[in-house]
Every structure is written in structure tokens, then in C-alpha cells.
């Protein structure tokens, strides 16, 4: 089972500069654990308190995982996962 994961610029320090890596897992949660096994530190940038970070977007085959089960979203061989940090900000001091 091989799933391609597209890594954003800001997280490529964990992947030796690679734009995409392969990982495996039957759910997003398992996939992230597999990523962490090979790219230590990356999990903490994706997950906070057991849930996806508010300002990190993860897509499975172009679907935002928040709409398809979050960390429990199912994965299958050949799926494509994209990680993109939110583009957000603003004058308010609290988000």
C-alpha cells in the first residue's frame, strides 16, 4: 500500500527537501504515524491535542479531510494526500 503525500515547503525540513514522499496507513491517523516514523517531528506540526491543527489542511484525493472523517478518514492504495498550511492571518490578535 503506497500513498503519495505532498509536503508543503515549510515542512520539507522534515523530508530532506522532498516535495512528496510515500507513506502507508489505512486511516489518516495511521498514515501520519507512518510519516512520523520516517520523518521524525512532522507529526507535531500536523496534530495538536489529538486532532488536526486548526491551520493545517489535509486533502485526500482533493477532499478536505474535515468533511470525510478527519483523522479517521479512510485511505486506499494509490490515494493522493496533500498537506497545505492555511493561508490566513489578519489584524485581530486572536484567531
Amino acid at each position: 500500500m503506497a500513498i503519495e503525500v505532498r509536503i508543503p515547503t515549510i515542512l520539507r525540513t522534515y523530508t530532506d527537501g522532498e516535495k512528496a514522499v510515500t507513506a502507508q496507513g489505512e486511516t489518516l491517523s495511521a498514515l501520519i504515524d507512518d510519516l512520523e516514523a520516517n520523518h521524525a517531528g512532522i507529526k507535531d506540526r500536523l496534530i495538536d491535542n489529538g486532532d488536526l491543527r486548526r491551520f493545517v489542511n489535509v486533502y485526500i484525493n482533493d477532499e478536505d479531510v474535515r468533511f470525510i472523517g478527519g483523522l479517521e478518514a479512510k485511505l486506499a492504495d494509490g490515494d493522493q494526500v496533500v498537506v497545505l498550511p492555511a493561508v490566513a492571518g489578519g489584524a485581530g490578535e486572536t484567531a
Binding site: 498550511p85 490566513a88 492571518g89 484567531a95
Partner: protein, 142 residues
């Protein structure tokens, strides 16, 4: 330094004025590694707020896929502040996630939707550190 052509500068300012008092946001894409802001992409502020902006997550993915197809990257990421100065807030700094981009801030606090000058400033934001840079507006990119 950010070098930007007049038409692109004008497009960003017009967008900020049009969306005032909500924050306007978008990017200027350019060929990877070129540092040339060539293609303005206005984005919808999914937060629709005077104090916060966020690209819609589905539109964000479409934008990046389009850039990947074209071997582009976000050279400029811009947004407006509508009641405060054109300087990155703590929120801006905390959420900045493109270390290679020029972060442009436009403040419309003085003239709002109307004609008149705006503050237009550019920054690098890397690992929580803000560095202001000069903005050179040129008739056309060389």
C-alpha cells in the same frame, strides 16, 4: 526587496479598497525561483471579517494545484488591514507559512473604499521573525 510592476501594485490596492472594511487577501504567483510576481490571484476571504482573513480550504487546494501545474509559487501573499497599520500582527506572524514569499500588507484605514493613498509595505516572515523590505514599483518587470 520586493520589485513589483505598477499594474500588479494597482490591482492589489484596488482589491483592498473594494473589500474594505473587510480584509482582502490574495497572492501573486510567479515562476518557481524567479522572484517575479506576475499573476495576481484575488482570493475570497472565507472569514469575511474586518480583523481576520483565511483562504477557503477548497479554493486553496485549487490554487496550489494550478500553481504546481504551471511550475509557479506564491511570490507575494497579500492582505489588508482595514483599521490598523500595514504591519504584521501576531496572528499574521504566527500563521505565516511560506518562508519564501513576500508578505505584502496594505492598510486602507485612512481612505477606506475611496480614492487616496494607502500604506503598502512588504515583509519576510520566517520562523516568527519579521523583516521589512523595500518595495520598488516599476512600470514593467524587466
Amino acid at each position: 526587496m520586493l520589485t513589483i510592476d505598477q499594474a500588479t501594485y494597482d490591482a492589489i490596492v484596488a482589491h483592498a479598497k473594494r473589500d474594505h472594511p473587510d480584509e482582502a487577501c490574495g497572492i501573486v504567483a510567479g515562476p518557481e525561483g524567479s522572484d517575479r510576481p506576475e499573476r495576481v490571484v484575488e482570493m475570497v476571504n472565507a472569514a469575511g471579517s474586518p480583523t481576520f482573513y483565511e483562504f477557503d480550504s477548497t479554493e486553496l487546494l485549487e490554487l496550489y494545484k494550478e500553481m504546481w501545474d504551471r511550475d509557479e509559487e506564491p511570490v507575494v501573499i497579500y492582505h489588508s488591514h482595514t483599521a490598523t497599520e500595514a504591519y504584521p500582527s501576531r496572528t499574521d506572524i504566527g500563521l505565516a507559512s511560506e518562508p519564501g514569499a513576500h508578505y505584502v500588507l496594505v492598510s486602507t484605514r485612512e481612505h477606506g473604499n475611496n480614492d487616496g493613498p494607502v500604506e503598502f509595505r512588504s515583509y519576510r516572515i520566517v520562523d516568527g521573525e519579521v523583516t521589512e523590505e523595500e518595495v520598488a514599483v516599476v512600470p514593467e518587470l524587466g
